[in-house]
């Protein structure tokens, strides 16, 4: 299986490549539109701010490329937030593949920001293919200060407020935690992603065309 990890610049992506290597699913790091389009699976990681990541994708000419992808795509951490319409982080427009706005995580006075550490998930849809073999006892490693809404969440986590931890819409999936740093549970989630069925045809390239 060919797996492209989108190189959005700057971030250390070695651990993502290693995690896929452990699954015997060697991946390549690329910002080349053709290699991304032709890959069977695409991962969109991201470290840094939403605004800088969107600028990097824009400069690489990848925004419309990603929007048009039909194969299973997984966003990781900031990569999840980029799938939404807008992020409060740098007040920027994002990819718009999942409806909703990413906002500051409201952790409250007693909790620390960023939300950094191990946490558990509530799977809202235990039958989702991404949930296979996983349950609310598993721990995942998070580092984030912004939170995505719950509408398309298949799993939710909590840090002062509930936020989307795993989302899925059409061929686009994403997780707010770092599966590559979440030991066996993270590896399991990545394996579930790689095993997703390829959708026959996406209903719409952009949900906004439905409204």
């Amino acid at each position: 299986m060919s797996i492209a990890v989108i190189d959005s610049g700057g971030a250390n992506l070695g651990s993502v490549l290693h995690a896929l290597g452990r699954l015997e699913a060697p991946a390549f790091l690329t910002s080349d539109p053709d290699r991304i389009r032709s890959a069977e699976r695409v991962l969109l990681p991201g470290v840094g701010s939403a605004r800088s990541a969107m600028q990097a994708l824009d400069q690489a000419g990848l925004i419309d490329v990603i929007r048009a992808l039909q194969q299973p795509v997984m966003g990781i951490c900031l990569g999840l937030q980029l799938l939404y319409e807008h992020s409060e982080e740098g007040d920027c427009e994002c990819l718009g593949l999942i409806p909703g706005q990413v906002k500051h995580l409201k952790a409250g006075p007693a909790l620390r920001l960023p939300h950094m550490g191990w946490n558990q998930l509530d799977w809202r849809d235990a039958d989702d293919p991404l949930a296979r073999g996983l349950d609310s006892e598993d721990w995942f490693y998070f580092v984030h200060s912004f939170a995505a809404p719950l509408d398309h969440a298949v799993a939710v986590s909590h840090h002062g407020q509930a936020f989307a931890a795993v989302v899925r819409r059409d061929n686009f999936s994403a997780c707010q935690f770092h599966p590559e740093k979440s030991a066996a549970a993270g590896q399991h989630l990545l394996a579930n992603f790689l095993a997703l069925d390829v959708p026959a045809r996406r209903a719409s390239a952009d949900f906004r065309s439905l409204t």
């Binding site: 651990s15 452990r22 920001l113 960023p114 740093k181 979440s182």
Partner: protein, 244 residues
């Protein structure tokens, strides 16, 4: 409390020093990346990597090894040794480390560390204080491979760092580090009582599995274990036991 296995690097190799003395080094014939992977698969939720060359001379010779460890393990890594300016800290984050330990600089220039805490927040920074007890019972943090003393006692320094937003503290009792002489329980208890919101990582002197239960009783959030693991005094199963 979580069990935090430690790897000390010198010249890219796994070593342990006794009481921080560079002339009393024990080398272990283990590859650092392989050891980190063994710790991760034993269930570690955080791995502690110390750059001894960086700590002593500011050398960057172990940075590549640190980057390789961060890439190769599927759990977060904290690293310390050799952070003397903000660029040093950022370089280690770019290498893939999650938390950076600031040691000597906390003692020498607490105002600089306070400014970073205020700018970056308390999550990415761990204050790594190595302390020795004076005859009148005060704990004094030391710098520069424990050869240099700061102006402030431990609690005065922690008051300042805590006000600036310190969330994570690693505290080592110099007399016990690498000596397998049992943990410094009184020290840890005095810290957790005084600073209930700081998450304390206890370090130094762990020799047997029962020491871990003793440290957990002090309210420490984590316990760092190095030599006892490398020498088989504490079984790898303990990592899993303390990480569930």
């Amino acid at each position: 409390m979580i069990f935090i296995p430690a790897i000390d690097l010198r010249g890219g190799r796994v070593v342990r020093l006794s009481q921080g003395d560079y002339d009393r080094e024990t080398r272990y014939p283990t590859d650092a990346v392989e050891l980190a992977q063994r710790y991760a698969s034993a269930g570690a939720r955080l791995i502690h990597v110390v750059d001894l060359d960086g700590a002593r001379s500011g050398s960057e010779s172990n940075l590549d090894s640190i980057g390789q460890i961060c890439d190769a393990v599927d759990v977060p890594v904290q690293t310390g040794g050799g952070v003397r300016c903000l660029e040093d800290l950022e370089l280690r984050l770019e290498k893939g480390a999650d938390r950076i330990i600031i040691g000597s600089l906390c003692v020498r220039q607490p105002e600089a560390v306070c400014a970073w805490l205020e700018a970056l927040g308390g999550e990415a920074i761990v204050a790594g204080l190595d302390v020795a007890r004076t005859l009148d019972g005060q704990w004094i943090p030391k710098a520069a491979g424990w050869t240099e003393e700061g102006d402030l006692d431990l609690f005065s320094l922690l008051d300042r760092l805590s006000d600036a937003g310190l969330k994570h503290l690693l505290c080592t009792d110099i007399e016990r580090d690498g000596m397998l002489s049992g943990p410094s329980l009184e020290l840890y208890r005095s810290i957790t009582e005084r600073y209930p919101r700081i998450r304390l990582q206890a370090s130094g002197g762990i020799a047997r599995a029962s020491d871990l239960a003793d440290v957990a009783q002090t309210g420490a959030a984590g316990c760092i274990v190095g030599r006892a693991l490398l020498e088989g005094r504490i079984d790898f199963d303990e990592i899993h036991r303390w990480s569930r």
